[in-house]
């Protein structure tokens, strides 16, 4: 059990992400790539993800307002978005992306719009959680080992 109270808090926060289904194993894969040369690798990738995917979110939003609805284009955007989300282990966001693509394939406009609202919520929630996590990690100081057992 971690003696340092900040580290313990960090550990508990991290565990909650997995227990509550926000993150999946891919996040752990990224953590295992972190080393002394790149101690902030995970934070860098997550930052890159939010910066990169915000453009996609905007494109999807614009496409949802266009008439007529272009399901193929929406599906293509979502395919990209889902890929990036999957790469950082964003489990709930990925699930919403999958659902969105199902609605695209079945030509369900209402479904797409509802699903996208939910997706944006999950996307924003995860962002807040991870921002708090990385901030706490910086406060807690460098870890002795780069990767923690699952």
């Amino acid at each position: 059990m971690e003696r340092n109270p900040l580290r313990r808090q960090l550990q508990m926060m991290r565990k909650s992400f997995f227990d509550q289904g926000y993150l999946d194993d891919q996040f752990v894969q990224l953590e295992e790539l972190q080393d002394e040369a790149n101690p902030n690798f995970v934070e860098e990738v997550v930052t890159l993800y939010y910066r990169d995917s915000s453009r996609l979110i905007l494109s999807i939003e614009q496409a949802l307002e266009r008439k007529p609805f272009d399901f193929n284009k929406l599906d293509a955007y979502m395919h990209q978005f889902k890929g990036s989300s999957s790469s950082i282990g964003a489990k709930k966001v990925k699930a919403e992306s999958t659902l969105f693509r199902e609605y695209c394939k079945s030509g369900n406009k209402e479904g797409c719009m509802r699903c996208f609202q939910q997706l944006k919520k999950e996307y924003a929630t995860l962002r807040k959680k991870l921002e708090a996590y990385f901030q706490l990690a910086r406060q807690a100081g460098p870890m002795e080992t780069a990767c923690r057992p699952k």
Partner: protein, 211 residues
Amino acid sequence: MVVAGEVLQSGSSQELHVLAVDDSYVDRKVIEKLLKISSCQVTAVESGARALQFLGLDGEKGSVGFNGLKVNLIMTDYSMPGMTGYELLKKIKRSAAFREIPVVIMSSENILTRIDSCLEEGAEEFLVKPVKLSDIKRLMEDCVTRGETEEQEGRRVHKRKLEDDNLNSSSSSPLSSSPSTTASFGCDISIPELLSSPPHPSKRAKLHDGD
């Protein structure tokens, strides 16, 4: 944590240079890290067109990349705008200079027909995304194994060539038939059979929870 670099060092003295192709910035960053941690040199580009440019296949001469490093392995995403990974694969396999370079396809979609067509076109492996460190480690082991096998095959080929030369030395006609022609081996030791190693059953059968 066991690093794949340990496997590499025991087999070869050189680092592998991998050309990674992916339109996703996030994925490029991750694959770059995965490969660097596995002791590879990495060049990551964002499209098939850029990959061909790097290889010098876009009409310009030269079989090495801009920085003069020979490419030992190409890893490409399947779904990319413009040129897909499949199209890139075909272009590489149809080029005399680069067809020997193993090409690995990465895709988030585990579609059997897609896997089959890639393997048929000569892809070395089909990896389901997101790619893990264990996938890279296995790739590195396969590459090293093939490298060692090729070295052994190369020695055998050279030996056969010497034997043929001895056989032909007594004949005056340059067109006299010999038991085995050495012309086909050329200056590159490339044994086509080695490239079509059977795909790992785990990859074909693996059901990704995503799609």
